[in-house]
Symmetry: C2
Subunit: 337 residues, 2 copies
DNA sequence: ACTTGGCACTCGGGAACACAGAGTGCTAGA
DNA sequence: TCTAGCACTCTGTGTTCCCGAGTGCCAAGT
């Protein structure tokens, strides 16, 4: 039904349309890509492709444009991910290596990806759920207040000020800190609730109100940040692009954490590092845009996702290459720290 | 030269143009605002105002539009800041009160301001320079690594992982922490360098390499974060607005920390809580946009700035009211914590 | 059975044009 | 000093027209 030449024609249409942003006609196609057939033959193939729904024409008398289905076929079978140049790889490496803390890693990553792809980059902060507690710190601020600092093995730091129900002197704070650390050190964040469930009972009765207060804040911290933080960059790249959906909608989605989260999607559990590509209407939340995303994280643990959002008419091979490369490097950086 | 009626005409022009986004003609003006004079008289006044450069006409036969100079006069002499409604005030208060930490305060503030003004809101993180050290924490990660956590009195937390030049056991780390805190507690951040200058010399010689490493990272932290972090929200509100400058330029400026910082401007030292309004070409970095900004901070110490960026054609009284109110509330919240 | 050249057809988009309407400036009179 | 009237100048819109790119189909060629 779709012989090799028809596929080649589809590939050519996608490539030309992506680079020129204009409907591509049979004549130009036959010329530029040496298909060794006449425009008439190409027309026949195009008619077949249109029949199958891979391409469409904006007006009766214009060239053809790929449909979402056409891009899908292109991505799945007609293209291969384009690796970055050596210079680009080195640039990425040195740029990411300069990061001083987790915040910095994320910020640099998202900017890098935006610049590399000339589109909007989106990076999710490494999730807490798979992290483990590296250290819990209690810092006395004054006699009725302490600051709780939670440090995870991914370098993430959460802090919260706690109002205590009674005056607690510093030595007692130090003691509580030791107790907490003994209890939680190395513990997975998801296990924290069960770990601390019976902690108050194991302590002297006079410590219990204070400990209860601290633990409730600790739990709150874990729960609240469970819906993850997401950042984006490169919104300026939207200015040129034309979406079928309004620019306003895209910008709104970008500022809405929840929507953005859904757009990035879930990491497939089988192949966590695989590239996810959602094209146009395949995307339930923001039709008219495409998303290329993947999971990242140190080693086998996938911590979070990152990706790129752009118009359906995007250079998929290049974008996919960039996303994959950046995900690898940032995983590497995170594993090292 | 400019009698009261001419000023009234200018005010009416600004108000009408802001609300309709269309050049305003003499007839409509005389009707809507009960000026009690005929369109012909208004025309004469308009001619005078144009002569003086306060208004201009896009084409020979169109209505008048305020110039930057016209807006300036309007803001300085013809309008008064419009206070928020009681409902709005309460909404702000409860929304900001729910913040759990400094990050959260800033995030909530910027979103609030964007929503309130329907424009792009910009908030600078409270500066480190006027803060004081509340606590320095050294957390052993393994025998060659510690994490340095710096907590300021504004609730800001900076952390950095340090590679030590030698193996250091935990008790020694605890000792160093005590020394550092004794030296720095309550110390203004700008004074930190001099405070720690002679610290190595006062310690046993075997501690010096380790301490030197730690101190160099500490100094680095202070310096690096000296250029402040800035966040923005409400980019979606740009979609509708039309700037004389391209949308792309605005988005680029927003993502460029340095430019954004300059746009917000310096806090005037005399009257730190005064509203700064920069109109169109008065703004050197992004002509064609206007900025309403002010300092904020607990009590008399101005910590940073926040503001709103929008098209020159903006509702200044309302915007100024919102910026002022939000600045007050966020100052209040920061003072309380 | 597939490919090719030819040909009539369709439609979008740009150029040329006319025109209504809003708004102005000017002048003369109250 | 204000007002009324009037001629004038534009922009924006709607209409028409035409060019050209591109198509679909058919018949002939391999």
């Amino acid at each position: 039904m779709l012989d090799d030449r028809k596929l080649a024609v589809l590939r050519a249409i996608v490539e030309d349309y992506v680079s020129t942003n204009e409907p591509v006609g049979s004549k130009a196609l036959a010329e530029r890509h040496n298909l060794k057939v006449s425009p008439a033959t190409v027309r026949n193939d195009m008619a077949a492709l249109e029949e199958e729904g891979y391409i469409t024409q904006p007006h009766t008398s214009a060239g053809r444009v790929p449909t979402d289905k056409g891009y899908r076929l292109f991505v799945d079978r007609l293209s291969q991910v384009k690796p970055l140049s050596g210079a680009e790889r080195r640039a990425i490496e040195t740029f990411l290596a300069g990061a001083v803390d987790l915040d910095d890693v994320v910020t640099r990553t998202v900017r890098l990806l935006a610049q590399l792809t000339r589109q909007v980059a989106v990076v999710q902060y490494p999730t807490l759920t798979r992290s483990t507690v590296r250290h819990v710190e209690l810092v006395p601020l004054n006699e009725r207040r302490v600051m709780l600092v939670l440090i995870t093995n991914t370098g993430r730091v959460e802090q919260r000020v706690i109002e205590l129900p009674e005056v607690v002197e510093d030595t007692r704070v130090a003691h509580l800190r030791a107790v907490l650390n003994a209890c939680l050190d190395g513990c997975g964040l998801t296990n924290v609730p069960e770990q601390i469930a019976d902690l108050p009972e194991r302590l002297p009765v006079e410590d219990r109100p204070v400990v209860a207060t601290i633990l409730s804040v600790l739990l709150e911290t874990l729960v609240e940040r469970h819906d993850e933080k997401i950042v984006f960059a490169g919104a300026a790249n939207l200015a040129g692009a034309d979406f079928t959906v309004g620019l306003r909608d895209v910008l709104e989605a970008l500022e809405e954490q929840v929507v953005l989260m859904r757009l990035l999607g879930e990491t497939s559990t089988d192949t966590p590092s695989a590239l996810t590509v959602r094209i146009g209407s395949e995307n339930p939340y923001l039709r008219g845009t495409s998303i290329v995303a993947t999971g990242y994280g140190s080693g086998d643990r996938q911590l979070a996702r990152l990706g790129v959002l752009g118009p359906t008419r995007m250079d998929y091979p290049v974008t996919m290459g960039a996303v994959r490369a950046v995900a690898r490097y940032v995983s590497q950086i995170l594993a090292a720290s």
